[in-house]
């Protein structure tokens, strides 16, 4: 096995050519090789959900994905969520409604919620609970996270009708 791998992928819409140690996970490559430290780690074992990113639109735990598997794929992280200087409605709702306390689980939950809202425009509270059940948050008690995702769904709906 070569010590370093070279491959190309899309990160937050930009084409990236990378050379990295072959054993690295996508999480490590994002944080260490690309400097995208917005994606967090809480266990490196797929237990906490802090490292969730979107790969081809699907939420994935980046600590369980080898970067080597990502050739040609589209990766989205929290850094790519805002529209320029303007926050994505999910980000705005999280900030306004107390869904981010310490903020450490927040990037993973935002990306998981984005995948949900991309598929379902007005998910029920139960669907939201299911969607983020793999993301642990120790601060909020989840209530304000549920409310922020519901509020973001409303804001997105409003955008579509504008």
């Amino acid at each position: 096995m070569p010590r370093t791998l070279q491959l190309g992928l899309s990160v937050n819409g930009e084409a990236v050519e990378l050379s990295f140690a072959a054993y690295k996970t996508l999480l490590e490559v994002l944080r260490e090789d690309l400097g995208l430290t917005g994606t967090k780690h809480g266990c490196e074992l797929g237990e906490c959900g802090a490292c969730a990113v979107l790969i081809d639109g699907q939420p994935q735990l980046s600590c369980l994905v080898l970067a080597a598997e990502c050739e040609g794929r589209a990766v989205e992280t929290v850094e790519g969520l805002a529209r320029g200087a303007e926050l994505h409605p999910l980000q705005a709702a999280f900030a306004d409604l107390g869904a981010a306390q310490c903020g450490y689980c927040t990037p993973g939950i935002l990306m998981t919620a984005k995948a949900l809202l991309d598929k379902e425009k007005t998910p029920t509270r139960e669907r939201i609970k299911e969607a983020i059940s793999g993301n642990l948050c120790r601060c909020t008690g989840y209530q304000q996270i549920f409310e922020a995702i519901e509020e973001a769904a409303l804001r997105l709906e409003h955008e579509r009708h504008r």
């Binding site: 400097g35 926050l87 999280f94 450490y104 008690g141 304000q144």
Partner: protein, 804 residues
């Protein structure tokens, strides 16, 4: 008020949702190296020899450190300086660090750990408090009070035995609260580097940069003035980053020796070993009551499992008794406590620090008392709520109390009266209350200096910069600081830049623990802001030709009637008149009336109060407990930002419910043939169970505002108190649902089934501790309560009868 009490996006909200908040492990510096720690695989052993030569030879390894490199001990409390950064000869729990490797990357460092050869002489493991009491040898620490008993405490505030003898009923119950851990999602990380002047900077995920600063100076033998500790925003703390950590000392030493930045990030397993979490506590409570439900006296005995080191343990042990007097009127009180050393990760402060355990016991016992007396549990409590502006039996000064209103709110909102004892079998409601500190009255190390300082700078551009050593751990302390400055100066919070948690540039604040930050930092911030407001008013008054005291500061203006200046213009005139504008404020809690030895733990500028109702649905076939809804009312004094306050309360409900139903830090022995080790049963996030989004019930939150005169705008704490009533309310609701008492936490389905089985067999339907071991508690310190002629000092035993 224009800012206080209004819902706002927190000042650091944008950074947190864009991934820009820089946590300790997000810091990357040029030429940075990585460190890993080698930890003891044995629970109790002596180190015979460490051979690090092979590790040193490993390509990519820059440095290997062992206990020999660290001759000086440290510890958070002055009385327990019992830890070495790396253990030189004696390891006391699985995970005790013994060596460190610094290498070009984490992988190389981790691989080199395997090349270090350590020869251990294995000692018998002390695994439980019972064992610690029975076996003085092998002794875990030479400095312990006797054998493996770390600390003994005993106090008597009035003759409790006499009070119980005269009571209509005496209730005696045993309770057990299993230990659990903080589980912040961020693992501890630290980066150390020498700056351009050769001085040390440490960035760390710590709640207590000031104490880390002091300990680094001691351990590294470097003047504190040459060290700067920067507390990064914590990715959750809950008390888990309140202690000074081995890795902080070792990474700092490595950076100093190598002249290069060095980083360490603990993995999840190591965070479980670091621990400092909730102490397991066995409790015995004897309580006397009159037939109309008044308390006559209480005797609490606790046996506290401390783990391998002191940590905050002496304080934690005091807290298993000190705040039992603050919630309800209690004429006499006796408290005996013992903390023992065991070969497990050290216990310390977790949210509620020592108080949740006896609170669980007392609130479940009150439920039993109400049932025996035929009283409604809410009515019983309403009849005994402590009085505002009063002293307690142990000489704590209580200010405002909103507890009665909290109880009335949760009773009304939960429809308690139509549910309690009236729901079908399997469903039930339970009620409990609690109270908590708004900051510890005394600092951890003895001094007469302020516990919090705030500095404020203003300039002609209208910039307001506030500096404070307080640490943002997610609770919103930066937002509180900005809100208070903005309120006093009449400006928008967006105008205030805040710089916090940096011992190099911010005034000392003792740290984010004991729910102290809002009260202490808030008072200091008001003082600093008011000083500058007064100067600006004088200068603006000259320009507007009005008296300074007639001016109003609001909405970015300084005005009277139709005469007005913008805030920026007013600051410019003040700078012209007084020179560069700056001010400081500081805060020290009022002196507590208690004068006896041990009176230092328990006093606070104010106490918060909470009441909670939990509804449960228990399946008698499986023992499975579902919680459909929780109602909570918290006496917060005054709400600064309701979005954040609600988040603190609901986060407390979440953590309390998680502790009630599943969280436990438990250990198992390996087969004796294999090892004497006591290993963590579940040092992983998957196996250490905590509530997920699917498990979390709906929470109805009410904030009761009963402003306390000692607090900034009357604002009390919200981060810890609301956790306290949740666990006992769950236990009481389970009793209402299926008629069984589970007198220990967590309450798991197997315990429910066992209790139902006992009930079916006609035995007492209770699961909980059956036996309280003989503990050699000392003769108590006798302190007459305020209403029995005392003056807050201890008296000799013979004098007690005379005073009473």
């Amino acid at each position: 008020m224009n800012v206080i009490g209004k819902p706002r996006r927190r000042v650091d909200g944008r950074a947190k949702v864009t991934g820009q908040t820089r946590f300790a492990d997000d810091i990357v510096l040029p030429r940075m190296l990585h460190m890993k720690l080698l930890r003891s695989p044995h629970a109790h052993a002596l180190i015979r020899e460490i051979n690090v030569e092979k590790a040193k030879q490993c390509p990519g390894v820059h440095l290997v450190l062992t206990g020999k490199d660290f001759p000086v001990t440290f510890g958070i409390l002055p009385v327990t300086q019992d830890e070495y950064p790396l253990a030189p000869e004696h390891v006391r729990y699985v995970g005790d660090p013994v060596a460190a490797v610094v290498a070009k990357d984490e992988k190389t460092a981790t691989e080199a750990l395997d090349l270090i050869e350590v020869q251990y002489k294995i000692l018998d493991t002390i695994s439980s408090p019972e064992e610690a009491l029975a076996k003085p040898e092998p002794r875990i620490h030479a400095y312990s009070e006797r054998g493996n008993i770390h600390r003994l405490q005993a106090f008597e505030f009035g003759d409790v035995d006499a009070a119980l003898a005269k009571s209509d009923h005496v209730f005696e119950d045993l309770f057990f609260y299993e230990g659990n851990t903080h589980l912040p999602i961020e693992q501890h990380a630290a980066v150390a580097a020498l700056d351009g002047e050769g001085k040390l900077t440490l960035w760390s995920s710590t709640q207590v940069p000031h104490y880390v600063h002091r300990c680094l100076a001691r351990v590294l033998r470097v003047p504190a003035s040459q060290i700067r500790v920067i507390a990064c925003p914590n990715g959750g703390g809950f008390g888990g980053k309140c202690d000074v950590c081995n890795h902080e000392m070792v990474v700092a030493k490595a950076a100093m020796l190598l002249g290069r930045p060095v980083k360490i990030c603990l993995n999840r397993e190591e965070v479980f070993y670091m621990h400092r979490g909730r102490h397991p506590v066995l409790m015995k409570m004897r309580t006397g009551v009159t037939r109309d439900g008044k308390l006559t006296g209480m005797h609490v005995q606790t046996l506290v499992d401390g783990g391998g080191y002191g940590s905050y343990g002496v304080a934690s042990t005091f807290y298993t008794g000190a705040l039992q007097t603050v919630t309800y009127e209690l004429p006499r009180y006796k408290f005996d406590a013992a903390r023992v050393f065991t070969n497990k990760p050290p216990c310390g402060p977790k949210r509620g620090h020592g108080t949740p355990q006896p609170r669980f016991g007392q609130e479940v016992q009150l439920d039993k008392i109400a049932e025996r007396l035929g009283m409604d549990p809410a009515e019983l409590r309403l009849g005994i709520v402590a009085k505002p502006d009063s002293l307690t039996a142990n000489w704590l000064k209580i200010g405002s109390i909103g507890l009665a209103e909290c109880i009335r709110q949760v009773v009304a909102r939960s429809d308690w009266n139509s549910k309690f004892k009236k729901l079908p079998y399997g469903r039930g409601v339970g009620l409990a209350c609690g109270s908590y500190l708004c900051g510890a009255g005394l600092p951890i190390y003895w001094n007469r200096m302020p516990q919090c300082g705030v500095q404020l700078l203003l300039d002609r551009s209208g910039q307001v910069t506030v500096f404070c050593g307080a640490t943002e751990i997610g609770q919103g302390s930066d937002d509180v600081l900005v809100a208070i400055v903005a309120e006093v100066l009449g400006i928008d919070p967006i105008e205030v830049r805040c710089i916090t948690g940096d011992t190099g540039i911010t005034p000392v604040d003792l740290g984010s623990y004991s729910s102290r930050v809002t009260v202490m930092m808030g008072n200091a911030a008001i003082q600093a802001s008011q000083k500058l407001k007064d100067l600006i008013a004088i200068a603006a008054a000259e320009q507007l030709e009005v008296a300074p005291d007639r001016l109003t500061f609001a909405n970015g203006k300084v005005f009277f009637d139709n005469k007005s200046l913008s805030f920026m213009e007013a600051v410019g005139f003040a700078e012209e008149k007084f020179g560069t504008l700056g001010a400081v404020g500081s805060y020290k809690p009022p002196r507590s009336p208690g004068r006896y030895k041990g009176a230092g733990v328990g006093p606070s500028p104010a106490y918060s109060y909470t009441a909670c109702v939990v509804e449960t649905d228990v399946d008698p076939k499986t023992g499975w407990i579902t919680v459909p809804k929780i109602w909570i009312a918290h006496d917060i004094g005054r709400t600064i930002n309701p979005v954040l306050a609600r988040g603190q309360v609901e986060g407390s409900v979440y953590m309390g419910l998680s502790e009630a139903l599943m969280e436990e830090q438990v250990f198992r022995r390996l087969p004796p043939k294999l090892s004497s080790a006591l290993v963590h049963k579940i040092p992983s996030l998957l196996e250490y169970k905590s509530l997920t989004s699917l498990d979390m019930p709906e929470v109805d939150t009410v904030l009761i505002e009963d402003p306390d005169p000692n607090c900034p705008f009357g604002a009390k704490e919200a981060g810890q108190g609301p956790l306290l009533p949740v666990m006992p309310a769950v236990a009481n609701a389970i009793y209402d649902a299926i008629g069984v008492r589970i007198d220990e936490l967590p309450i798991t389905p197997d315990k429910v089934l066992k209790a139902l089985q006992l009930k079916a067999q006609g035995k007492p339907a209770r699961v909980g501790p059956e036996h309280f071991p003989a503990v050699p508690y000392p003769e108590p310190l006798i302190v007459p309560p305020p209403w029995e002629g005392g003056d807050g000092k201890e008296i000799k035993k013979n004098d007690a009868a005379a005073v009473v």
